[in-house]
């Protein structure tokens, strides 16, 4: 088995004889030369990814003011930064929205503005102590005025990411972008063949201390990222780098409509081809990397999986779901991922970037388990009314009016012969029918597209459905779409009224 050492490769970088290819080229090289040939001919494979990395942020040290201040709360261009770290250290998170412009300007925009050389307005409130008497602070600073501006990102560079679609009847605005109703489109994220962790899934090279390309600067892997889950193929990285060295070409603020700010960040990792095992892993192709296509139309943690798809399928532009071709597009930029893999390749070839020996490999065990929730929130079934009256669609309007007057709801679910929900009629529908003198059977005036909920749905989701569609009540149905209850906005306001706010 062909093998070489990291110091051999770094010597070649020093001498200018190192042979570097991108992870996009590597599958072809291995196919042509075989694994032993690839180890002989290739020293380094460069990877790259450029996508929305929400779990990012910077530590900023402002220096001491006169009189000194121990900052309790701070805002940078009206974006709150966490001040609970010593006196003048702040942590600014990428997804924090601003207090004046909301989600259109957030932590990521402050970070980009700093890198772009813009001045930032700082406001702070102090605690007021004998050693830090100052209570208030206002100043304007640029990146050069900060002692340190260190990016520390808890979770970046996902090995791969599940693709998203939407079975529901309305457009969803998510961190996976705009998802059109009735499987209108598919969005995905990740660089596939160029993804750093997909090219080293067993961490043969990537570990704590690995030098990487981060936002145009040299950065380092600190360890595995939060939600690191290598057993399931969803590894992540925690990374750090000096913001002062970064370039706003590779670090871009973004806003996802009705979701919030995020940071697009470029990460590239060089992988030394030390042996055939590493060569085999870097020969991974788009078609080898599978993800699940997930339905975001179900607003629960356990979103249903529709099918398995590969990055080759996703990048083709269309995926077939239920006999229909659905348009796919990415949220991460493959173009920029290619640029990053190329830029990293060139800086290694020019002798500007050496590879490091990690001090520890990344952990092969991770954890991405669900949240332990100790406070129980009610489900629809806990608060709904069960004494719901349903009607068939062949009754007359005046009969429906009589039932509504004698019953407790303004809404009357209409069911088929076998009890399945087929429509709904409201007091307003009846008033309209009477006013227009076209009194007839309710089948002519009922609403056939009914929003409904299930007894095991959390109350917060039912409330969201009522709010989104501007309705005041919904039938509750079982798995067979049979009406078993009714939930109204009165039930929900009752819950809030009983809640203790102190």
């Amino acid at each position: 088995m062909q093998e070489k050492s990291l110091s051999e490769i770094n010597n070649r970088i020093r001498e200018g004889s190192v042979r570097v290819v991108t992870a996009e080229q590597m599958p072809y090289i291995v196919a042509e030369l075989g694994l032993a040939g690839a180890v002989r001919e290739v020293d380094v494979v460069t990877t790259g990814t450029f996508g929305a990395m929400c779990s990012s942020g910077v530590f900023l040290n402002l220096g001491h003011s006169d009189p000194p201040i121990k900052i309790a709360k701070a805002w940078l261009n009206k974006v709150e930064a966490y001040g609970g770290v010593a006196a003048v250290d702040l942590f600014l998170g990428a997804t924090q929205p601003s207090e004046d412009k909301g989600i259109e300007y957030g932590g990521s925009h402050v970070i980009e503005d700093l890198v772009a050389g813009k001045q930032i307005d700082v406001e702070a409130e102090g605690v007021g102590t004998d050693c830090y008497p100052q209570l208030e602070l206002e100043t304007t600073i640029g990146l050069e005025d900060l002692n340190q501006a260190t990016m520390v990102n808890p979770r970046n560079a996902y090995q791969r990411y599940n693709a998203a679609t939407n079975s529901s009847e309305r457009t969803l605005h998510t961190y996976m972008g705009t998802l059109l109703p009735r499987y209108g489109n598919i969005h995905y994220s990740g660089a596939g063949v160029l993804s750093p962790l997909s090219n080293d899934p067993n961490f043969d090279y990537i570990g704590i201390g690995t030098r990487i390309f981060l936002g145009g600067a040299k950065g380092y892997v600190i360890g595995s990222g939060t939600q690191h889950d290598p057993q399931k193929g969803f590894s992540t990285l925690m990374v750090t780098g000096d913001l002062k060295e970064m370039n706003d070409r590779y670090l871009r603020a973004a806003t996802f409509h009705r979701y919030g700010p995020s940071l697009y960040l470029g990460i590239g990792i060089p992988i030394p081809i030390l042996n055939e095992r590493i060569a085999r892993n870097t020969a991974v192709r788009d078609r080898d990397i599978q993800v699940s296509l997930v339905d975001y139309g179900v607003l629960r943690r356990g979103r249903p999986i529709i099918k398995a798809v590969s990055y080759q399928d996703l990048k083709s532009g269309f995926i077939e779901v239920g006999g229909k071709e659905i348009s796919t597009s990415s949220l991460s930029s493959y173009y920029m991922a290619l640029v990053i893999a190329d830029v990293l390749k060139m800086s290694i070839e020019r002798g500007e970037f050496y590879l490091t020996q990690p001090v520890e490999p990344l952990s092969h065990l991770g954890s991405a388990k669900s949240m332990k929730q100790t406070k129980e929130f009610p489900n629809v079934g806990d608060v709904m009314s069960r004494d719901v009256i349903v009607v068939r669609d062949d009754i007359q309007v005046h009969e429906a009016a009589r039932i509504i007057v004698n019953g407790s709801f303004d809404h009357l679910p209409v069911v088929s012969e076998d009890g399945r929900l087929m429509g709904i009629i409201t007091a307003w529908d009846i008033s309209k029918a009477v006013a227009s003198d076209e009194v007839s059977r309710i089948s002519a005036i009922m609403t056939r597209r009914v929003y409904s909920t299930r007894p095991d749905e959390p109350i917060v989701l039912a409330a969201r459905t009522l709010d989104t569609h501007g309705i005041s009540a919904m039938p509750v149905v079982d798995n067979d779409n049979r009406v078993i209850g009714m939930i109204t906005s009165d039930h929900i306001s009752g819950l809030l009224a009983r809640r203790r706010w102190t």
Binding site: F50, G51, A52, E104, H173, G177, T178, L180, G184, N185, I186, H187, R252, A254, T255, F256, H257, S262, Y264, G317, S327, T328, S329, S330, L331, S332, S333, Y334, Y335, M336, L338
Partner: protein, 128 residues
């Protein structure tokens, strides 16, 4: 050629498009229309040779007409070529070419889906 029609409330209930079609014999394709109590905004497609004729006919009826030459503008400085616009555009106005996003403005009907869908805020509708 795409024309955007701005119809005032006073004339919004008149059969404007039908009468223009009868007068000009132009084949008019309505690509987008939003009409409410206050005003109407309609995007139509007509053959280039009939464009001036149709524009003139609408203007005589009191409709404000704007020719949509570049309906959507992509800011090259801001665009990172992610592709968030590609699959949400109802007319397929965006596509990848060597993984760069290319806009075919001729297909745009100014629905605005891409404007809110673009995470970099790199897209703008010319008239909005």
């Amino acid at each position: 050629m795409k024309l955007m029609l701005h119809v005032d409330p006073g004339i919004v209930r008149q059969p404007l498009i039908a009468s223009v079609i009868l007068e000009t014999s132009a084949l008019v394709n309505i690509e987008r229309a939003s009409i409410d109590a206050v005003s109407g905004e309609i995007v139509i497609e007509v053959a280039p040779e009939k464009c001036i004729l149709v524009k003139d006919a609408f203007e005589r009826r009191g409709v404000k007409v704007v020719q949509l030459e570049i309906p959507v503008i992509m800011d090259d400085e801001e665009c990172i070529h992610c592709g968030a616009c590609v699959s949400i555009c109802p007319t397929g106005a965006f596509r990848f070419e060597n993984w760069k996003v290319i806009a075919d403005s001729g297909k745009c009907i100014q629905c605005g889906a891409c404007v809110t869908g673009c995470p970099q805020r790199a897209l703008k509708l010319v008239l909005k």
